[in-house]
Symmetry: C2
Amino acid sequence: MAKEKDQNTKDKNLLICFLWNFSAELKLILMALLVLCTLATLLPFIPSSFSISASELRFCISRIAASDAANSTSSLAVTVVEKPEVDNGVTKHQLTDKAESDRGVIKRPLTEQPVLNNGVIKRSFTGYGWAAYNFVLMNAYRGGANTFAVIGLSSKPLHVYAHPSYRCEWVPANQSDNRIVTDGNKILTDWGYGRVYTTVVVNCTFPSTINTKNSGGTLLLHATTGDTDRNITDSIPVLTETANAVDFDLYDSNRRREKYDYLYCGSSLYGNLSPQRVREWIAYHARFFGERSHFVLHDAGGIQEEVLEVLRPWIELGRVTVHDIRDQERFDGYYHNQFMVVNDCLHRYRFEAKWIFFFDVDEFIYVPPKNTISSVMESLEEYSQFTIEQMPMSSQLCFSGDGPARTYRKWGFEKLAYRDVKKVPRRDRKYAVQPRNVFATGVHMSQNLQGKTYHKAEGKIRYFHYHGSISQRREPCRHLFNGTRIVFDNNPYVLDTTMRDIGLAVKTFEIRTIGDRLLRTRQ
Amino acid sequence: MAKEKDQNTKDKNLLICFLWNFSAELKLILMALLVLCTLATLLPFIPSSFSISASELRFCISRIAASDAANSTSSLAVTVVEKPEVDNGVTKHQLTDKAESDRGVIKRPLTEQPVLNNGVIKRSFTGYGWAAYNFVLMNAYRGGANTFAVIGLSSKPLHVYAHPSYRCEWVPANQSDNRIVTDGNKILTDWGYGRVYTTVVVNCTFPSTINTKNSGGTLLLHATTGDTDRNITDSIPVLTETANAVDFDLYDSNRRREKYDYLYCGSSLYGNLSPQRVREWIAYHARFFGERSHFVLHDAGGIQEEVLEVLRPWIELGRVTVHDIRDQERFDGYYHNQFMVVNDCLHRYRFEAKWIFFFDVDEFIYVPPKNTISSVMESLEEYSQFTIEQMPMSSQLCFSGDGPARTYRKWGFEKLAYRDVKKVPRRDRKYAVQPRNVFATGVHMSQNLQGKTYHKAEGKIRYFHYHGSISQRREPCRHLFNGTRIVFDNNPYVLDTTMRDIGLAVKTFEIRTIGDRLLRTRQ
């Protein structure tokens, strides 16, 4: 028993020793484990392949350091100016960085360096914060078997004064496939306009078909600022194709079969638009372009509730799509970034329509009697683009042929029947394109396309322009006239009842198509 | 003994139990301790008061996420585009973010949102990278008991199209003293010029004396972008005063005692300057302004080795200071950021000189005989600023009164003796200021000052302008003439020997002052 006990005690002694020793090693092992555990706990908060460039890190750190210094007196990591003194060629160190050694705080770049050997004071300059994005992505679209278009904004002065450049990289989903890189062709469409931002369309055309096996992948845009200070490249994933998502038939010109004959791409709509004018515009053009057409409108704040009401019946019929682009207001470009918006529309619907039209919602496309839109477009098929002449109409002078009471009840394009015939060197034009041939577009025409452009279609197709009528929420008739030739404000006008004569047909079409839902629409 | 053993065993049993139990608790305690230790280990790598705003963090993270996605195929955190399809008013989710759930990767902002209830497609816009700094600090200077000036660059379109604003905060070194905040008065001096960057002078004037006890502190500039997208504020420590560093007497106008009567602030020097022309310019003005003057030159690449050689004797005498500002070339502003440079010079030497002169190194200040610079300046003392009329001299037509051989040996301002007398509406002026009265300055005059400006000093002081002569490294005489009135290229000139007559005196002064070190200087 004693022996047993002894044995027992010995065992326990061993156990104690083991545990005792173990408790020392335990600390070590636990410490190692727990450091690992802690890191493991923190890891999910860190992106799985944490890779930022040195410049980015420097930037983040400098911001943190700056904020740090800004927000706490206990650790002001700033350079220290000693008593200023005029430097007589040889100047002592005016700035010393005490923070680092004293307080373990991240060093701030010096604003001034000591005098050099040759008696010259070396000045330095430190940048803080940032004023504009390098690139703002709206979207990217495949434009063919081997080509893509990326649509976005970029800093205007960068494009005017520096040399930003773009490269495109295809990263296959299947990692054993090779990545492919090509130069991006930067297209600036804004005709020199632009404010803080300008519109950029990057055409990424690769030497051969991309995603041949349809196994998916991602398009990266490498956007380089190209300035002398930093020349930073941002790598932006702009488009991912899932497996079997690409329909290559779409890009085969032998098999083309567009969903629509005519697609309307509207510019950014903003301000307080007249619901009645929009109602008239959509009814007119839905009839004019026919069943195989579609209207894409862009709401930059202009499609308010009452305007949406007049569009809703057409949305429900599948004739109209509204894109809410109000978010782009955050980026100060030319007129609600309209150049970006029309390019997005072009590339988004590139394979959906034979022709895309670009004009405004105070403009009405017209073909002369005995023509139809399809006969005209067939005759223009050899052109990639044609421009459309303007018929400038007064937005305030009305023809009161039926007396004032009946005049006010008429639609805008019926009563605003006086055409401005003042001679001017040129008037704005609008245009239509066959989108497969177009790489980027503008507001009055595209200058980046393959194929011919036709500027003499005025005998076949024109547009009536009621300038500004859309953005007034009141009765447009300010003055009533009866004559066929009048002069108002020293400007000659003639009576032009071309549009007026179509009014009844359009109203009938509207009732027949969407019923009487919009009868009580207000100006 | 058995009892003892028993006791011993019991004790050991207790110990074992204790250790056994302890080892369980040990894990817990150690775990807690080690998590703390790990955090403590990591802490030094984190700024001691780690405070970045949500927007900054968002920015850093989005960059990290973007880079992450960009640099690794194994974790492409991108939005996924399903087969594109025209949206007929009602569109299914075209973009789904698979990355987050599948791979634990930080979510990238969606480029497109699902369709909303009302049949409208919500579009979104994602910014990447950055194109220009919010603020580039050159330096900050105390301008009085309660006022400071911060000199730097800022994004030009931000200032044209957005509403950037500045606030100034004094953070006393003694933490028990209160911080003081005031609005910064932003002065834009560039007359509408500027490229990627424009020059900003922020005047920070507090309601009362700052750093009264002379215990030190730091001036923070809070620079807010004021744009609609981010409106981020960068807090920048711009100036630190150490304890007892401020000499308040300097700012007391009753005790003023400037080191210099006249200080020259030069604009940015760039290009390939002629050492001989610089030699002539400095010798002329060192004599003209006298002992109590000083010359500050700014080297934006123009003071190359040979030019520095002709300045060195004057630097050694304490008459000239050269600032190497080549680093500002990284920031694309108007003409080597000259507006920033002259403002830095103004504020840096504000209390060192009674008068500061602003003109170029191809210009020579002159007062008519029987006047001296000091008699003239005394007569102008009531003005804070006066502008100086230009005498435009030809930079290629020489007077060969002494024959060609002797002409070529003469100094530029001796031989370039033909004055352009073509009538023009106005010519550029240069100027001088009493710097204590000036808040910011320009290239041709200051428009931000207190006190009067005088524009009719032409009878007292003028300047001869040899336009472009400084930036040609060759003999300036392209044509020799003898007449007193000539016409060249349809432009009338008259012989003006005013400067020519001073030549000998200047050369003698140079030899007497710095010896013959510069005799072999080349054009």
